[in-house]
């Protein structure tokens, strides 16, 4: 029998609750774009629990792979094992733009209250204080998937009033040529399909107000209070709508993560 009992604080690590919380965002039958790392654990865990018919697309060009060893990158040969399709970027990004992707997992160095994300520079773009990796597919995926879920580290400097550089679009974005902020719906026209639906950190799960597009606190991981989270946000976080505590991993989920999905200890050291 699978042990569906919840693990107690101290029996799981930060990565575990991140992976489990992310997995719970997947609905059965969805087409999911996932990047390297925790997103892989999340989709693989979801496929083994509540979303057996979810299909995972990796941006390097594999569709619905069934790896028997955890890939260490979306370009890894392991992604292609028992995949339906092994093609390339043009195939999968065209499908993304065509509208087939339901959900995507993304990350970022900095996020603002509208879910805009920065992975490009710290400081002035024209004279960067720190240059980061750049956008990758983050903005494309975030533009064109129906829902996105961000997995982030909870730090005051990372949860900011307004991103120094918007790499990836949230619910209020820049409308060019003027550059003024406007709702995503207005900027995307008939291409609008949705946007960030959750942010998952080491402390909490956040969601976005359907009208204002502002982030609010939804659940707090066991061991933290809403105030702890608020203190780790640079903007004035709405903690009035907290729905409760984040459900921790079950023993069955932990077993899947450590014995099956990441048996080699690649992301869950």
């Amino acid at each position: 029998m699978r042990n569906q009992e919840l693990a107690k604080p101290g029996e799981y690590k930060v990565g575990d609750i991140l992976a489990v919380s992310a997995a719970r965002e997947v609905q059965d039958g969805e087409v999911v774009f996932a990047g390297t790392g925790l997103p892989m654990l999340a989709i693989m865990l979801a496929q083994r629990t509540t979303a057996p018919n979810a299909c995972c697309v990796y941006e390097a060009g594999t569709v619905d792979g069934r790896p028997i060893h955890l890939p260490a990158s979306v370009g890894d040969a392991r992604c292609a094992y028992q995949a339906a399709i092994c093609s390339g970027l043009f195939d999968v990004f065209s499908q993304l733009q065509r509208g087939v992707v339901d959900l995507a997992f993304l990350g970022g160095a900095e996020i603002d209250k509208y879910g805009n994300v920065n992975t490009t520079v710290i400081g002035n773009y024209l004279k960067p204080q720190i240059r980061l990796t750049g956008s990758g597919g983050n903005p494309d995926i975030n533009s064109l998937a129906r829902r996105t879920v961000f997995i982030m580290v909870q730090e005051k400097r990372r949860f900011t009033e307004a991103c120094q550089y918007i790499t990836s679009p949230g619910w209020r974005v820049r409308k060019f040529p003027s550059g003024e902020m406007a709702p995503k719906q207005e900027v995307y026209g008939k291409f609008f399909r949705g946007g960030p639906s959750a942010v998952i950190t080491n402390m909490a799960v956040f969601r976005f107000d359907a009208v204002t597009g502002e982030m609010y606190l939804d659940t707090v991981h066991p061991g933290f209070t809403p105030e702890d989270v608020k203190n780790n946000c640079d903007f004035d976080l709405d903690i009035s709508r907290v729905s409760g505590e984040t459900v921790p991993p079950t023993y069955h989920e932990l077993e899947l993560l450590y014995k099956a999905i990441d048996a080699e200890g690649i992301f869950l050291a």
Binding site: E59, A60, S73, F93, P177
Partner: protein, 326 residues
């Protein structure tokens, strides 16, 4: 009648590249990069290269660290698990030594796709609303390089266009990229030049077809008829290939589907050791200038290291390499 052979030495192939050329590459992040050719470019001390690529990785970090690159147009650089950012690029963009033009992943892919399709631009809805398309952040424009004097650089970074066919709203047009040279690493190439790629194709087809010249670094050159037995598996026809260089393990330290794993430890060392210019120079002295050719590089790595990386034939990846903590 025999077809003219395109096989040549790595040295001769890389001599086809001129200072100032616009280059692009096969592969994705740390996978199937033509590393042996990258090292040779550094050895030949090419200057002012203009890289246009969907994403970069270890290969780009080597070229940038070595001072070969003037302009980099792309969306990402790093080493995935083995180094979270491109330390050499970061250093040189922060010091103003390198011109960086940021696009998004799909934008860059479409730029090469437009080049491969022979059209000057393609439309997309990707990355609207972001600072990537902020007109203030058009670096080539700010640098005065969009005046048409370099015909490879488009007169604008983007255009905003309204769709009047279906009233979809405002889209972007991204300009085509037509690199002078694409360097591709392939698992197998036929004697005449038919190219077969195994596993993910990444943006290889677009990169190869967008470029004016194509240099193929092949793990194996095989009889042409062998690849033609199943033409559905091949990617590039001989007439698009200008040079063929046969070199095993030529993607090392990046990985090559069905042949060998990425050498994570090697890449991590590169990342850690090259955060400073002095560190890069020492690394290059050891691994590029300190060896005369690819054979010596492989000797230096040693057979045991390489054999650990070799793919299992059934799995297409190594089952011997230690990857995690368990």
């Amino acid at each position: 009648m025999a077809k003219p052979s395109k096989k040549m030495s790595l040295t001769d192939a890389i001599q086809m590249i001129q200072d100032g050329d616009m280059l692009t590459f096969s592969g994705f992040t740390i996978w199937r990069r033509p590393m042996a050719a990258i090292y040779e470019i550094v050895r030949q001390q090419k200057k002012n290269l203009h890289l246009v690529e969907v994403n970069s990785g270890t290969h780009g970090e080597v070229l940038i660290g070595a001072g070969c690159v003037k302009i980099w147009e792309s969306c990402w650089i790093g080493h995935e698990l083995f180094g979270k950012l491109g330390g050499n690029l970061a250093r040189k963009v922060m010091s103003g030594e390198l011109i960086v033009e940021d696009y998004s992943h799909l934008h860059m892919l479409l730029r090469l796709t437009a080049g491969a399709m022979g059209v000057p631009y393609l439309p997309t809805a990707a990355s609207l609303g972001t600072d990537i398309i902020n007109p203030e952040y058009d670096i080539l424009g700010r640098t005065g390089l969009r005046d048409g004097s370099d015909t490879r650089i488009p007169r604008a970074k983007y255009q905003f266009v309204n769709d009047t066919f279906y009233d979809m709203g405002t889209l972007l047009h991204v300009p085509a990229a037509r690199p002078d040279v694409c360097i591709m690493l392939a698992q197998q190439v036929g004697e005449e030049g038919t190219v077969q790629i195994w596993g993910q194709k990444f943006s290889d087809e677009e990169a190869a077809k967008a470029a004016n010249k194509l240099i193929v670094i092949a793990e194996e050159v095989v009889p042409e008829e062998y690849l033609r037995q199943e033409p559905e598996r091949n990617l590039i026809p001989p007439y698009l290939v200008d040079a063929i260089v046969e070199l095993p393990w030529a993607a090392h330290p990046t990985g090559c589907f069905g042949m060998y794993e990425a050498d994570g430890a090697f890449i991590r060392d590169f990342y850690n050791e090259t955060r400073t210019q002095e560190g890069f120079d020492a690394w290059a002295e050891k691994w590029i200038f300190g060896v005369n050719n690819h054979d010596e590089y492989l000797e230096k790595l040693g057979i045991r290291r390489l054999e650990t990386l070799r793919s299992n034939s059934a799995l297409k990846y190594s089952s011997k390499v230690k990857r995690g903590t368990r």
